[in-house]
């Protein structure tokens, strides 16, 4: 029963987003366009350490893409559904709450998979990126699963922010967090004071985890996974707090 409801819920979420150009175009097109420009057109054949820019930036713009898709899918959509009362209708229905959240995770991962697939095709076709099959798989898995902590962070934003402020907050979190973590420009090329800040950001750990699957990452994969898991727990806890807080309010 719950599995069936989760499936239906996921299908509805996918349909809902797919028909929403305001979501689809920025989340799908921006990472692809950025990668095509910075990773391929500008200096794709140059090298960063042992890898080409096209390979390196496949990992970092892949991370940039899934982070955006997760933050928007959770942050903005939950804030809207909560602020305008739709979440109340869901909560008054017999829908199991788990179905709502699992469906959002699955939807986010489906969009993440589309972004990663488009980037990989671009990289292989136009960037001359060649990886061992195991490395392709590891990179793709790291990016798609790596969306989850950012879904949790988005969820926290969605439950704490108002429906009108959520898109702005997501952008304020998303863009600096991507830049400072070296997702646009390699950490090595950033000014030293930024490079010192980077390890405090979850985006840095996803970027380095993804880079590690193809060679040039810093730190151990285990460390990155543990840090990202902690962010997931923190985001979910903040969201649960926000949900609880809503009950004590007359609004919404």
């Amino acid at each position: 029963m719950i599995a069936q409801i989760t499936m239906n819920e996921t299908r509805a979420e996918l349909t809902k987003f797919a028909r929403l150009p305001a979501y689809v175009i920025p989340t799908l097109a921006f990472p692809v366009a950025f990668y095509a420009f910075f990773g391929l057109a500008m200096n794709g054949s140059q090298h960063i350490g042992p890898t080409t820019v096209a390979t390196y930036m496949l990992a970092t713009f892949g991370a940039f893409g899934v982070v955006g898709c997760a933050l928007f899918a959770f942050g903005v959509s939950v804030a809207m559904e909560r602020g305008q009362g739709w979440l109340l209708v869901k909560r008054a229905s017999p829908m199991p709450p788990a179905a709502y959240f699992v469906a959002k995770v699955l939807t986010m991962m489906a969009f993440a998979a589309v972004i990663v697939a488009m980037l990989c095709l671009l990289a292989a076709e136009f960037g001359g990126v060649r990886l061992a099959p195991g490395a392709w798989l590891a990179l793709i898995a790291a990016l798609i699963l790596g969306a989850i902590p950012f879904g949790a962070i988005g969820l926290a934003i969605g439950f704490v922010a108002g429906p009108n402020s959520a898109p702005a907050i997501v952008n304020v979190v998303y863009l600096p967090m991507s830049f400072l973590a070296g997702l646009w420009i390699p950490v090595e090329a950033l000014p030293p004071f930024i490079a010192h800040v980077a390890p405090f950001l979850p985006t840095y750990h996803l970027g380095q985890l993804a880079l590690g699957t193809i060679g040039p990452g810093h730190g151990s994969a285990l460390t990155h996974i543990v840090v990202l898991a902690l962010w997931t727990v923190a985001g979910a806890a903040a969201a649960a707090y926000g949900m609880k807080r809503d009950e004590g309010r007359t609004y919404g």
Partner: protein, 303 residues
């Protein structure tokens, strides 16, 4: 009656938001087969009562039950359909997609075609929600409430902001639902709506139930007139006159509430040579609710 047969019940429920007491020791029990209206002005606690009943919020004290079980668990809400006052229904799903999804939450939903027919949505099933008119959107909300073929409906201000035609259509749908032996609990701030739909009315004001009865009983208590006048009689003499329910004074003007303005005015002309009638008006509902919360004695209104 055993509690598992009571579709929806609040027992001694108190709910506070900070310093505001939204519900104060409220008892409401929806009986099987009846249509119960919770009538009250905005801010009376109606929405809090509905949300507590549906398990969206937990009461500070007291209990809420649906067919004897806590509404806080999703599985206990399968026999109840709800219609809330919301605006954020996802715009990019079609009517059919919305109904199909909600139907899947229930163990024995109505066939989707039946739900669409009952809610008056035939011909609109492939329309995106965002493209519907206000009345059509409210019909979708009704469809989502009934699609699970629930034994009870809980409707929060179902016809607020609807035009007359849409309101009458929704009334007909609600009556059709009751005719199938189901129970309905609805909130409204409109006595006429409560009168049109409900077999029993509970008046909620300031977080407490201040009156209960049939529509006729509530109307006779709430739907009176206000006589504005000047008179040499003191409050005690006025209250003693037949038909006068409450007396208020402000700036030398006396306001009397009554259900028989003619008799009161005749009596006052007869006993008080200084009596001057200023005007007679239907008591606005807000004032009628206030009157219900008072004992029929004099109340000094600060100028």
């Amino acid at each position: 009656m055993h509690d598992t047969q009571i579709p929806a019940r609040l027992s001694r429920v108190t709910k506070r938001y900070g310093a505001i007491t939204a519900l104060n020791d409220v008892d409401v029990a929806l009986q099987p087969g009846e249509t119960l209206a919770l009538l009250g002005p905005n801010g009376a606690g109606k929405t809090t009562a509905i949300r507590t009943l549906l398990g969206i919020i937990a009461p500070d004290s007291g209990t809420a039950t649906l067919f004897g079980k806590t509404p806080r668990r999703a599985a206990n809400r399968t026999r109840v359909g709800a219609m809330l006052q919301v605006s954020g229904v996802p715009a990019t799903l079609t009517v059919r997609e919305h109904v199909r999804l909600f139907s899947s939450y229930y163990p024995r939903p109505l066939p989707i075609a039946d739900t669409l027919a009952i809610a008056g949505l035939r011909g609109l099933e492939n329309r995106l929600y965002g493209q519907l008119s206000g009345g059509q959107k409210q019909r979708v909300a009704f469809a989502l409430a009934i699609c699970g073929d629930p034994d009870a409906l809980v409707l929060d201000e179902p016809t607020t902001a609807l035009d007359v035609e849409s309101r009458l259509a929704l009334w007909a749908q609600i009556r059709g639902y009751v005719a199938r032996g189901r129970s309905v609990l609805l909130t409204t701030h409109d006595l006429a709506e409560a009168d049109a739909l409900a077999s029993r009315i509970m008046v909620l004001f300031g977080g407490t139930i201040v009156a209960e009865g049939t529509a006729a009983q509530i109307k006779s208590r709430a739907g009176g007139s206000t006589v504005r006048c000047t008179s040499g009689l003191d409050d005690e003499r006025l209250c003693a006159l037949a038909g006068i329910e409450t007396v208020q004074r402000a700036d030398g003007v006396i306001r009397l509430t009554t259900h028989d303005a003619n008799a009161v005015v005749r009596a006052l002309y007869a006993v008080d040579p200084t009596f001057t009638l200023l005007d007679v008006a239907q008591t606005p509902l807000e004032e009628a609710f206030l009157a219900l919360t008072r004992t029929p004695a004099s109340q000094e209104v600060p100028a």
